[in-house]
């Protein structure tokens, strides 16, 4: 049973436009959410996180929105750049727990 779901395997966005990556979760105990970015042949790298006490967190071009009632979060990238082409993983954890649960990832293609 998948607790963290990324239902779009891939997404193509024009350079300069907004990219929106979505993530749904089923476990209401999750209270910390992270996004990781992964290039081919490299390990994932941390991008941005959000605690459940917030509904928005912003870091430069990246903003994560959390809708607890819908158990949904999204990552917005504005403006999208060619270097943003990568696989993005949504992840969730229960604070003070040792483990995080990853979604399957969404491959983002930024088109010139």
């Amino acid at each position: 049973d998948q607790q963290v779901k990324q239902n779009s395997p891939s997404l193509s966005v024009q350079e300069g436009r907004i990219s929106i990556l979505n993530c749904d979760y089923t476990n209401s105990m999750f209270d910390y959410f992270l996004w990781y970015k992964k290039y081919p042949a490299e390990g994932p790298t941390f991008l941005i996180s959000i605690s459940s006490i917030k509904d928005k967190n912003e870091d430069g071009r990246f903003t994560v929105f959390l809708n607890k009632s819908a158990k949904h979060l999204s990552l917005h990238i504005v403006p999208s750049q060619p270097g943003d082409s990568a696989v993005y993983f949504c992840a969730a954890s229960i604070d003070r727990d040792d483990k995080i649960i990853f979604g399957k990832g969404t491959r983002l293609h930024i088109l010139p």
Partner: protein, 114 residues
């Protein structure tokens, strides 16, 4: 700082062989993790450690063993390799509880079992 390093980068094993995947970190992190990523799937936790001498099972531990004798090193042992263990293996480390701190990942080891 090298961060998290993994060796080897690639390996082909025959069914029934065994091997050790090496992982080291130089960030003085207490927590270390081993994940596997199968094609089109997310990362699945195999084993993790909250400090030297302490290890615990993750979601998919069968067929693997770990040890943590030092803060820096966290090797993953595959005994009697099976085709189902064909995957990309990532080691990661973090300062403390995952809820508060992000994990830093190594570049991965691509393992094929034939």
């Amino acid at each position: 700082n090298a961060g998290v390093t993994q060796t080897p980068k690639f390996r082909i094993l025959k069914i029934g062989q065994s091997m050790t995947l090496q992982c080291a970190q130089d960030m003085n992190h207490n927590y270390m993790y081993w994940y596997r990523q199968d094609p089109g799937m997310g990362l699945k936790l195999i084993y993790y450690s909250v400090g030297a001498g302490i290890t615990d099972k993750g979601e998919v531990p069968n067929g693997y063993n770990v040890s943590r004798s030092t803060t820096e090193d966290f090797p993953l042992r595959l005994e009697l390799a099976a085709p189902s263990q064909t995957s990309v293996y990532f080691c990661a480390s973090s300062f403390g509880t995952v809820g508060s701190y992000e994990q830093y990942f190594g570049p991965g080891t691509r393992l094929t079992v034939t």
